[in-house]
Amino acid sequence: MTTETLNVELNDEGFLVNPKQWNDEIAAELARREGIDDLTDAHWTVIRFMRSEYFEKGTGPTVRILGKTSGVGVRELYKLFPKGPAKVAAKIAGIPKPRGCI
């Protein structure tokens, strides 16, 4: 599936340009591109948590905050999203890359 067939615009790093243009199918396709073929309930817990945090606070949480607040521990988060929970889960959740601390 290409970006065109997803019918949403992605930026250079593969993050959704408009977080509102997001649904479960888009999430599943973005996950496949990250090498995650099946999104489990635990994945969805994290993905939905990322989205609610983003819409409430304007930025996605970091791994440490995810580990403290999402109900999924940091070790488990790395098992779910081995390439980096905050970044990859944000991408699948259709929200911008969490604002790096400066």
Binding site: T69, K83, G84, K97
Partner: protein, 418 residues
């Protein structure tokens, strides 16, 4: 009479107290500063301690002595803040009522959050230079070091002075060169970021400096465990970095009382704060300066200094019932010590990343470039800190807003997305 209570007698608390004292007569406002001890540490000086370039006693002064007359200093631990009752509870059961509260309690180290960090090898082969005791112990360990691998590891952001771990690498390269054993020492910098630094132009420049100085750069390394007994850092994804000596920058949190005060802090005990006005988002009569705030600026003394003017202006506006000014632009300004008597200078804000050029105008200190002048600037800064910054004076020629004159602009495509 307005009662102003300032929690924290470090950089931010001291300079705000002194500025407010100049603003209000003693008949108009009572100003109290609370801190748990009377040791004001010049934190930028900690970087030099492990290399024998500075001693802890040279960078610590009494807090009370940095406060102007007419400011009360209360030494005591803070138990909690009651936002509704406008009361600060101290550990000895004393209470301090306030009309305006300024939070300046900074960030604290949280080494206990990293598995194994405080266990085998802590203060023997695993150190940090972010607090005086370990910086002093590290000085001895470096002196006794005969060769092997030293890894400098940032566990996760945010940290105070994000350039300090890089400066440590540069100074270690210089230190072992001076001792004539640089060829026996491997230096590795392991970071959770995808480059040497957060901002693209500076990241590239600092990354190539690491390479020139023979410091191996390991990126996207997310430390899950420190195994001091076997000399290795283990990342959450299972990758390992071996070490003979580790210099770890532990996780940072806001002060513990923030967590004990309902509604005051976020998950990491930092206080939600408006990034332009510095008024807290938890109550209109609470303002936050420096590392205690969750604003997306560096946790650094220069940021705290530049925040002072806006914060004091807005306390004044709040007391007078006027609108607050969105005055703070995220300005940060850091000297980066690069060893061999040279340093770089970087200058940036919320909207502009560190650029090359000169500071503060076309004729000035070179930006993003090593020079002897910047090294002298860094050394001179301690004098300015005690004599100009803490008293709450402006440093001549250095305004709070980030200057743009003298900077080389980058093409939009090269700019940071954030």
């Amino acid at each position: 009479m307005t009662k102003i209570v300032i929690l924290g007698g470090g950089t931010g608390g001291t300079l705000v107290a002194n500025r407010l004292r100049r603003l209000y007569s003693e008949a108009d406002a009572e100003i109290v500063v609370v801190d748990q001890d009377d040791h004001h540490v010049y934190q930028p000086g900690l970087l030099f301690v492990p290399f024998g370039l500075s001693r802890v006693e040279e960078i610590v002064r009494p807090r009370a002595r940095q406060l102007h007359s007419g400011i009360s200093f209360k030494e005591g631990a803070i138990e909690s803040v009651d936002i509704e009752a406008r009361l600060v509870h101290l550990s000895d059961d004393a209470t301090l009522p306030y009309d305006v509260l300024v939070l300046a309690t900074g960030a604290v180290l949280a080494p206990e959050e990293t598995e194994g960090l405080l266990e085998a090898g802590w203060m023997e082969r695993v150190f940090t230079f972010y607090e005086p005791e370990s910086a002093t112990a590290l000085e001895k360990a470096l002196r006794d070091f005969k060769g092997g691998r030293i890894v400098v590891n940032v566990i996760d952001m945010p940290i105070k002075c994000p350039v300090a771990p890089l400066e440590f690498c540069f100074l270690a390269d210089w230190y072992f060169t001076e001792r004539g054993i640089r060829d026996k020492v491997q230096l590795t910098y392991a970071t959770p970021l995808d480059g040497a630094f957060t901002k693209p132009v500076a990241s590239k420049q600092l990354g190539s400096m690491l390479a020139e100085k023979g410091v191996e750069l390991v990126t996207e390394f997310n430390t899950g465990e420190v195994d001091g007994a076997n000399g290795k850092l283990i990342a959450y994804d299972g990758t390992e970095v071996q070490f003979d000596l580790a210099v770890v920058i532990p996780l940072h949190s806001g002060a513990a009382y923030v967590g004990r005060s309902p509604g005051l802090g976020d998950e990491l005990n930092f206080v939600p704060t408006d990034e332009r006005t510095l008024q807290s988002k938890v109550a209109p009569n609470i303002f936050v300066i420096g590392d205690a705030a969750n604003v997306p600026a560096s946790k650094a003394g220069s940021v705290t200094h530049f925040e002072g003017e806006t914060l004091v202006e807005n306390v004044k506006g709040f007391v007078a019932g006027e609108a607050l000014i969105p005055g703070f632009d995220g300005h940060a300004n850091c000297f980066i010590e690069s060893g061999f008597h040279k340093a770089l200078l970087i200058d940036f804000n919320y909207d502009t990343e560190p650029l090359s050029g000169h500071y503060p105008a076309a004729i000035g200190l070179p930006l993003l470039k090593e020079s002897r002048l910047n090294h002298l600037g860094k050394l001179m800064f301690q004098w300015f800190y005690w004599h100009s910054l803490l008293p709450g004076r402006d440093i001549p020629g250095i305004g709070s807003d980030m200057p743009v004159a003298g900077k080389t602009q980058v093409k939009k495509s090269e700019r940071s997305a954030s």
